[in-house]
């Protein structure tokens, strides 16, 4: 009886009508969100003439792309830089988070606050001294220079996340392990790290997308095309190619693809990372 009063219209036309409107709206947004990918795809398989004509297909632009940019090399650079930065971020954030959450030495609270405060430093604010420092150390035009900068940029948030994550693990777990005669080092490797895998996955996916898609760090610290990642290569494509739309679309597609694949495979971790800041 209550259900009848709750929905006076029942399952009538109004109910299905409004649902149809919602789906139509969602379909429209889907088109708006996906159209750029369709646009890249369809125009990348055209030659410049076919692009202007609006029909016909060829792989000329893809062949062209591989002559214009060292695509293979730059994809490899992107992969090396991204994976290395992620490895460093995971290493320093798990050890740091473990220490801040479990070991808690004197002044560790203060050090933790300093690390968290570093989250508020935008790379643009420090770009001038960072460049001068890296140049001084001879780190410009070496992949490890950019890797270290990316690692530093990702480390504060990752450390914060790991600290919060480790704090949730009951103290008893550590105490029991201590009684069993395990040292702090073994507790970290045998107990804490395995428990932290989901948080590490979140950090890895977030950072993969951030580093792969970034321009500024690679643009400034890697000025030699041979060490540049693909995103930077694409953004700095020689200006005579800027009117070759099919070529640009092919380049856009190939540079976007790896991050999109990572997103599609691991989106669960990305979304949980985004909302981790607010859900208790």
């Amino acid at each position: 009886m209550v259900e009848l009063r709750a929905e006076p219209e029942g399952r009538g036309w109004r109910h299905y009508g409004s649902r149809a409107v919602v789906y139509a709206l969602l379909a429209l947004i889907t088109v708006v969100m996906l159209y750029p990918f369709y646009y890249m795809g369809i125009n990348s398989v055209r030659s410049l003439d076919q692009y202007y004509a609006g029909h016909g297909f060829s792989l000329a632009s893809w062949r062209n792309l591989f002559h214009t940019l060292p695509i293979g090399r730059q994809l490899l650079n992107s992969t090396i830089i991204t994976l290395s930065a992620i490895a460093i971020i995971l290493a320093v954030s798990t050890t740091g988070g473990y220490a801040f959450a479990v070991l808690r030495y004197r002044a560790s609270r203060l050090v933790f606050v300093a690390i968290v405060a570093a989250m508020m430093v935008p790379i643009q604010s420090i770009i001038a001294p960072e460049f001068v420092n890296l140049a001084h150390w001879g780190f410009i035009n070496h992949r490890y220079g950019a890797i270290l900068v990316y690692a530093a940029l990702g480390a504060p948030f990752a450390t914060f996340l790991m600290t919060v994550y480790f704090q949730r693990i009951p103290v008893d777990v550590v105490e029991a392990a201590l009684i069993d005669g395990l040292g702090y080092g073994r507790i970290f490797f045998r107990i804490m790290l395995p428990l932290a895998v989901p948080a590490m996955a979140t950090i890895a996916v977030l950072q993969f997308i951030f580093v792969w898609d970034d321009l500024l760090v690679g643009l400034l610290f890697l000025q030699n095309p041979d060490v540049r990642p693909i995103t930077v290569g694409l953004a700095t494509i020689p200006s005579q190619h800027l009117l070759d739309i099919p070529l640009l679309m092919a380049g856009s597609l190939i540079s976007a693809l790896p991050a999109v694949i990572v997103y599609l495979l691991f989106q669960r971790y990305l979304m949980s990372g985004l909302t981790m800041g607010i859900s208790k």
């Binding site: 969602l26 969100m33 050890t95 690390i115 508020m120 643009q124 604010s125 420090i126 640009l248 856009s252």
Partner: protein, 276 residues
């Protein structure tokens, strides 16, 4: 000992440089030699008409935030988590987040260009006489940047609001419906007040993105132009340091950006603490 790696990394590559930025913001610095000037650098910076325009551009970017929040909030309300296929839509709407601004910018140019997608759409609906040619005019180019920004933030804010919706007790909705409340009343009287925390969070995320994440979009889509039309603070810093060679002025502007971001960060901290 366990904190040594992270302290070294962050200390040398983030905290030490921000201290340098603050120091050099009071100096004339070309990257090699610098000499102390004092606060005159700040008055010099604010006296520059192009810098005033840069600040204005940032202020205008802030205006896009309510739009970047309203759309996904409305859609999250429609989807909630009971609509069939909502996971599919969520994945699709979040997809732009995985794509580089560089790529988005190249497609953005094709969208807004005078012979681009937007013009084709206008031609299609009989408005072909109107040529907005958005990227060729200072203000409309900034609007083009803002539209692209709103488009790309849609998924992020949607995820935040969907997470928020999931925390709302379903019985509240049912009770409201029993009392005869329409969808709009439910949205304004129940959903929005209950999601306050999530809306604040989305606001902060969007604001920080607007101030610090648009470099690549602007670099590729407009190069900060026409004129200084789309030069925001972060782009201005890059331009001053690496195109003009004025590292001192770039540091001064860098301090301003840092203060803005830190203020927003502290706001976030405060409202998290307020919740406990």
């Amino acid at each position: 000992m366990f904190t040594l790696p992270v302290v070294t990394l962050v200390g040398i590559l983030l905290l030490y440089p921000i201290a340098q930025t603050v120091y050099h913001s009071f100096t004339v610095w070309d990257g090699i030699t610098s000499h102390w000037v004092g606060t005159a650098t700040y008055s010099q910076l604010f006296a520059k008409p192009e810098f005033v325009q840069v600040l204005e551009n940032n202020a205008l970017l802030v205006l896009s935030i309510p739009v970047a929040i309203a759309f996904p909030l409305g859609v999250a309300f429609l989807i909630q988590s009971k609509l069939r296929g909502w996971r599919f839509f969520r994945s699709v709407f979040f997809l732009p987040t995985a794509v580089s601004w560089v790529v988005i910018a190249y497609v953005g140019i094709r969208f807004f260009a005078d012979d681009g997608i937007l013009q084709h759409l206008l031609n299609g609906v009989g408005l072909g006489f109107w040529h907005p040619n958005m990227l060729s005019n200072e203000r409309s180019a900034l609007i083009a940047v803002m539209i692209t920004f709103v488009w790309s933030m849609f998924g992020t804010n949607l995820i935040i609001f969907l997470a928020g919706m999931a925390t709302v007790d379903q019985e509240l909705y049912d009770a409201a419906r029993v009392d005869g409340a329409g969808s709009f009343t439910v949205l304004t009287k129940i959903t929005i007040p209950l999601l306050r925390r999530f809306i604040q969070f989305a606001f902060i995320v969007t604001l920080i993105a607007a101030f610090t994440a648009l470099f690549s979009l602007i670099f590729v889509m407009t190069s900060g132009g026409p004129g200084y039309g789309t030069t925001t603070l972060e782009f201005f810093i890059y331009e001053q340091a690496f195109q003009t060679g004025d590292f001192g002025l770039a540091s001064t502007a860098g301090v301003i950006l840092f203060l803005a971001v830190a203020a927003v960060g502290l706001m976030q901290l405060r409202f998290f603490k307020g919740e406990d």
